[in-house]
């Protein structure tokens, strides 16, 4: 490859930008079909109950009511695609019973000819419940033996891992810091509410589902299994999507499967759309965790041991709970080279809304605890936190002990140095808080996050590229774009390799009937895993073009290069043919050939490279009211290579905004299983006027396994924001907050307690 790229490293506008701002882009909510029915759910008012009887006869007598599906008929999806690995595990993916496990758990769905009729029908249904004792507190779930939320009990999963010997590690430490941290039930709060789909069964037995899912192919698999269909009879189409952040990482509880059942009864398209309130109160959220951490270090700043105990609360159901707790482990252990490390994680069920994937998976929770601990140690031994991090982080060339993989690229040092210089860390961190009412502080936090899941999950990626007879190309990929712009990035990669202009490459819609198997969008994987698939498919097409060119240019393919849309003999540039002419010839004019160049690739990525980042947060704390104001984030991330720098900056800024929310304003509040803030008045995501300056800094460490050196960014940019803010608050006020989200009241109380 040349170093002067034509498409890679350029901030092309996103290919769907114009469609989105003009309103031409169709989202799931926009879809209307002839004869379409409207479906809605009746949800449980109880946190834990057995449904003993459902009476729908009055509802079914209404003229517009066409179908009813209940908890008795329809299975729930309760695991993620990790469980597709064996036939035995597959059986555990579904749960079919008559228990409701949180307030809002679907009991039945009705499909009717109008929304008005639907509303009326739902009001006529009566359900009898046998109430069961509910468990709200995860600690109670751990000890309560008489109430079992699931058959196997209340403990969903346990994991333990130990390296070295923590006992010895603590003996070698000069100081030991021990704290318990709590993190909140954050919601995705995507612009488009979670939970809209249209399911359409045709009389030929084929099911088409339009759903703004992150995982079109796995959704296809889940639906096929739930309905007993073969994969060729299930088609999942992902329309434009207004943000996902992990909230669409599978099928939605009560949505696609329910609608498909309703459509099978009627052979009419059935549409269901959750309200924002339903999104907030009955779809997955971030796992709240209690994290107990004991960390030891020498006075010279070598971290000698870390002991971690996590209790994770997955709510009434869990899909991603294994992955999430494993992520706490791999990111926590992976970031620092701590010789003695013990990790134990327990996930419990409670009678609350279910938890799942949310940007960062388990990392933001773990990072908040671990980066707080490291900051406390730095303060105690009087060392610059940055120096302490540089002393202990796991460098390029070292082994990652959890993934069992060599670290091939790590730009953390550069992130720290560039970030520190840009925000004035040296000077600001030494500033004394003074006696002012408003105190200023600066805090630092670093992070590691994995790209993709090649070491953890079935994580296939595929792409096909068809070169048209006029020299343009069509790229087919199911790398679901939720708004982050990966279709644009993938077109850039294809353009670079094929030598075809960016504007001459079209990217297909995401449709399982057309696009080859892809794991979907999760784990910050699409620039890397999707990028590798597209790169390999493009290389395949490229080679085929060169092979064809041999005949016309009368030289061996290995003597040819592609430049500016032409295939050129390296040593004799005058001997060349344009891609367009070549395609005309081989596809149409040369009747002895008549062949289209189709490149394809499929497989798993060769690695799961870590990407790194450093966030410097500057805050002001009002010591009279406890209010915090974030003044600026300086966020430096090592993304390997920025294929599209503007898109990377967008991710860094967006992650910063979400991270500030996680730190200071967001989180579902529950009382007896009721969600108290299921709307944007009471659940505060940052408004545009609340967003401080966020300075994104891109560091490029060139990951050798990545396409053009790229790795991830999507999740990491939010992971270490909360810890940086908390560290900054401590720098300003001297008080350490251990619970997210941080409230003014907690700060005020801590300041008082410290006096």
């Amino acid at each position: 490859m040349t170093d002067s790229y034509t498409a890679v490293g350029k901030s092309f506008q996103r290919i769907d930008g114009i469609d989105k701002v003009t309103g031409a882009a169709k989202y799931a909510t926009d879809l209307r079909f002839e004869n379409m029915l409207y479906a809605g759910l009746l949800r449980s008012p109880h946190a834990h109950a057995k449904v003993t009887c459902i009476n729908t006869s009055a509802a079914e007598k209404l003229p517009g009511v066409k179908a009813v599906a209940t908890i008795f008929d329809v299975p729930k999806v309760v695991q993620y695609w990790f469980f597709l690995r064996t036939e035995k595990k597959k059986e555990q993916m579904f749960l079919h019973d008559n228990i409701v496990r949180f307030i809002g758990d679907p009991v039945l769905a009705i499909a009717a000819t109008s929304k008005e009729m639907l509303k009326k029908a739902l009001s006529l249904v009566t359900v009898e419940y046998e109430l069961l004792k509910s468990i709200q507190d995860p600690h109670t779930a751990l000890t309560e033996t008489k109430v079992n939320i699931h058959k196997k009990g209340n403990i969903a999963f346990k994991v333990n891992k130990e390296f070295g010997n923590v006992h010895e590690g603590f003996k070698a430490a000069d100081i030991i810091v021990e704290n318990t941290y709590h993190t909140s039930k954050q919601k995705h709060a995507s612009l488009e509410p979670i939970g809209t789909c249209v399911a359409s069964f045709q009389s030929n037995g084929k099911l088409t589902v339009y759903s703004s899912t992150q995982l079109p192919h796995w959704s296809q698999h889940y639906l096929a299994m739930a309905l007993g269909l073969s994969l060729n009879k299930v088609r999942v189409i992902k329309p434009f999507t207004g943000g996902a952040f992990g909230g669409r990482c599978g099928v939605i509880h009560g949505l696609e499967v329910m609608c498909s059942y309703l459509s099978r009864q009627t052979l009419q398209p059935v549409k269901m759309s959750f309200t924002r309130e339903e999104d907030f109160s009955a779809t997955e959220s971030r796992h709240p965790m209690t994290i107990r951490m004991k960390t030891g270090a020498t006075k010279e700043g070598m971290i000698t041991a870390n002991k971690v105990e996590i209790l994770s609360d997955t709510g009434g159901y869990g899909t991603h709970y294994i992955g999430v707790i494993a992520d706490c482990m791999s990111t926590g252990i992976g970031l620092y080279n701590i010789p003695n490390y013990s990790f134990s994680g327990t996930v419990v069920y409670t009678n609350k809304s279910p938890c799942g994937a949310l940007r960062g998976y388990g990392n933001p929770q773990m990072n908040f605890a671990q980066e707080s601990q490291i900051d406390i140690i730095a303060r105690k031994i009087g060392m610059d936190p940055m120096a302490l991090k540089l002393k202990n982080y796991r460098r390029e060339g070292e082994m990652d002990p959890v993934l069992n993989e060599l670290i091939l690229s790590n730009g953390l040092k550069e992130c720290l140095e560039k970030g520190a210089r840009s925000c004035g860390w040296e000077e600001k961190r030494l500033r004394q808080a003074g006696n002012d009412l408003i105190k200023k502080g600066i805090g630092l936090s670093i992070m590691l996050h994995g790209t993709g899941a090649a070491r953890a999950l079935p994580d296939p990626g595929s792409a096909t590229i068809m070169i048209n007879s006029d020299g343009t190309a069509n790229l087919h990929t199911a790398a679901a774009d939720e708004g982050q712009g990966n279709r644009t990035v993938l077109a850039q990669i294809a353009s670079e390799i094929l030598g075809i202009e960016f504007d001459n490459i079209s990217v297909s819609e995401t449709d399982t009937d057309i696009t080859p198997l892809d794991c979907g969008t999760h784990g910050s994987r699409q620039a890397y895993c999707g990028g590798l698939s597209v790169r390999n498919a493009a290389m395949d097409a490229r080679q085929k073009m060169l092979n064809h060119a041999q005949k016309y240019l009368k030289v061996e393919a290995n003597q040819l290069i592609i430049k500016n849309g032409h295939i050129i003999e390296k040593s004799n540039p005058d001997n060349n043919i344009s891609i367009k002419d070549l395609m005309q010839k081989i596809q149409i004019q040369d009747m002895g050939v008549c062949e289209q160049v189709i490149g394809s690739a499929s497989g798993i990525a060769p690695a799961m490279p870590g990407y790194y980042g450093a966030v410097f947060a500057e805050v002001e704390v009002n010591t009279q009211t406890g209010r915090v104001k974030v003044i600026k984030l300086t966020s430096a991330y090592d993304v390997g290579k920025a294929i599209n720098p503007d898109m990377v900056r967008g991710q860094i800024v967006g992650g910063g905004v979400m991270g500030i929310g996680f730190a200071l304003t967001e989180g579902l509040q529950l009382k007896d299983g009721h969600i108290l803030n299921p709307n944007f008045t009471d659940y505060r995501i940052l408004r545009s006027c609340d967003i401080p300056e966020i300075e994104p800094i891109i560091v490029e460490s060139n990951e050798p396994t990545g396409p053009f050196g790229a790795k991830g960014i999507g999740e990491g940019s939010m992971v270490n924001v909360a810890s940086a803010i908390s560290n900054a608050i401590c720098h300003a006020t001297g008080v350490r907050l251990t619970e997210l989200s941080i409230t003014p009241e907690q700060i005020l109380q801590s300041i008082k307690n410290s006096r």
């Binding site: 309130e277 209010r627 009471d682």
Partner: protein
């Protein structure tokens, strides 16, 4: 599940009598709609307003004005909140608190729609405009089946979302009596951190009229710390006829907090609110004091 209103149930009467008749006719199933920024989102959120099936739009009743009459300032009930900010009538010392409250209310877009009457009639304990209007000793004119009458704002709020309006009654006008130019006023709103647009956690408005440092009139209005916005009369009482000093202001602030009866909710705990009520009253009184010296 929520449904939009059917257009058949949306009325836009041309006269006050028609409006009152419609309200009487539909009783509990009808409500006035002014800017709609309270009633529509609430309806969208479900159950609470599901019984309201008739909306009576009052925008054709000529209630959009700010005028002077007999030395009083009168605000028509459907005057939008941004109009307060631009009206020259309020660009003097005693009304600074009102302008500050208007500017602290929601966002520019909402303020173009939301009305002063709606803010009062919604009777939210955290309504921003209620506080400077209480501190200004405003009263409201009400039209109804039995004609017009006047209610002191101080007695208008009866509970959360509950006012002294009887069935069929409509708020016409808010009347602010004349205030001496040297009156100092201020409004302070405490929001959750990192948020510039939000309902108040605590909000406070104060007024001080001084002769030298001798306090002739003190008013302290508190919001979000009780079932309604209210005047902290005991606290204001210890300032009246006294020589003002920092210590006295602090005492008044503590007393005002004592008069409050906040609850725990998803915005803050009662304890924090009470503590902040004292802080805000102190800060607001100090500001009003400073302004009264200008």
């Amino acid at each position: 599940m929520s449904l939009q209103y059917n257009l058949e149930n949306y009325y836009k009467p041309e006269t006050m009598k028609q409006a009152v008749d419609l309200l009487l006719k539909f009783g509990k199933t009808a409500k006035v709609i002014a800017g709609g920024t309270d009633i529509l989102p609430k309806r969208q959120c479900g159950a609470q307003f599901d019984t309201i099936t008739h909306l009576i739009d009052i925008s054709n009743l000529g209630l959009n004005y700010i005028k002077e009459s007999k030395g009083n300032l009168c605000i028509g009930a459907s005057t939008n909140i941004n109009s307060l900010v631009t009206a020259s009538a309020f660009h003097s010392n005693p009304y600074i608190g009102l302008i500050e409250a208007a500017e602290a209310h929601s966002t520019n877009t909402i303020r173009n729609q939301a009305t002063v009457g709606g803010n009062l009639c919604n009777a939210s304990p955290c309504a921003d405009l209620a506080l400077p209007l209480l501190a200004l000793s405003a009263c409201v004119v009400v039209a109804g089946p039995k004609g017009n009458h006047t209610i002191q704002l101080d007695t208008f709020f009866k509970g959360p979302n509950c006012t002294a309006l009887l069935p069929g009654e409509i708020l016409l006008e808010i009347i602010i009596p004349n205030h001496q130019e040297t009156t100092g006023a201020s409004f302070i709103k405490l929001r959750h951190h990192q948020t510039e647009v939000d309902m108040a956690v605590v909000n406070v408005a104060t007024q001080l009229l001084l002769d030298g440092n001798n306090c002739l009139r003190a008013m302290i209005a508190l919001g979000s710390v009780g079932p309604t916005s209210f005047l902290a009369k005991k606290a204001a009482g210890i300032l009246s006829r006294q020589t003002l000093n920092k210590k006295l202001i602090e005492q008044a602030a503590m007393l005002a907090a004592d008069e409050s009866a906040p609850i725990d909710d998803n915005r803050a705990t009662a304890g924090y609110r009470k503590e902040m009520a004292a802080v805000l009253v102190k800060n607001s009184l100090e500001k009003s004091w400073e302004r009264s010296r200008k």
